[in-house]
Amino acid sequence: MARPSATTGGARATAPRTLRDAKAAYGTNPELAWWVFMRISGFLLVVLTFGHLWANNMAFNAGEIDFAYVAGRLSQPGVKLYDSFLLLFAMLHGVNGLRYSLEDYVKRPGARFWWKAVLFTAAAAIFVLGVMALWTFSFDEMGAAVRALNE
């Protein structure tokens, strides 16, 4: 499970630096897939997070966000779809990044196991909350109700 860099006391110079290095270091184990995933999801997240920040911080005063604003957004099909991809990629990318950090800094195997167990359990529960929130407002009935609320 441990990445090569985690066993060398955080010496990042030995971490795989190119796709060829990563293939040599990881062979066919899942860490190669995660290494590739971090780069693909990272690239997509640049677009997704910048769009998200633009909509909610630049095109709108974030200090005025309230229930009507969020419910209005989450009743739109496009926002549901966009935020679903954002939630999925951000959670996987972020939690895997936290796992890298735990493996780099938590040296004792027992403590490392429990930190990761708590992280993955909390992340799974929070992901379910996020999915529920995204699908709370149905496209038609709730959307109309929310628009009436905004008027």
Binding site: M58, F67, L87, S101
Partner: protein, 119 residues
């Protein structure tokens, strides 16, 4: 060659911003999910709490973290998947810092007056 040079600082900032953004993400999903309890639920009270100025400054730091982490992530992708990326990693990092600062100008221009109440 590595310690204390651009590459190490790029990594340190990437790690710190990444951990901060991941923890913020978990909190953010929880607070937005409070909309499930409807207009009379706890959502509006939570949001009003987060609209206080210390949290709005925190949000500016989160935006700065997103921009740095995103641009430095693109630098990492260039280093990993091109033949020239590693050779130019140091100037690329200065490009990341410069572009982060540049993007910061309109963001601060928009958000600081909102926090001061003069928008």
């Amino acid at each position: 060659m590595y310690r204390g040079r651009e590459g190490q600082w790029a990594f340190v900032f990437h790690r710190m911003s990444g951990v901060a953004l991941a923890l913020y993400l978990l909190l953010h999903v929880i607070d937005i999910s409070l909309v499930m309890w409807g207009p009379d639920g706890p959502f509006n009270a939570f949001l009003a709490f987060y609209h206080q100025w210390p949290f709005r400054i925190g949000l500016i730091l989160i935006i700065a973290g997103v921009v740095y982490h995103a641009l430095n992530g693109l630098r990492i992708i260039m280093m990993d998947f091109t033949t020239w990326g590693v050779r130019y990693q140091a100037p690329l990092w200065y490009g990341v810092l410069g572009l982060t600062a540049l993007i910061g100008i309109p963001v601060l221009w928009k958000i600081v007056p909102e926090i001061l109440g003069i928008a």
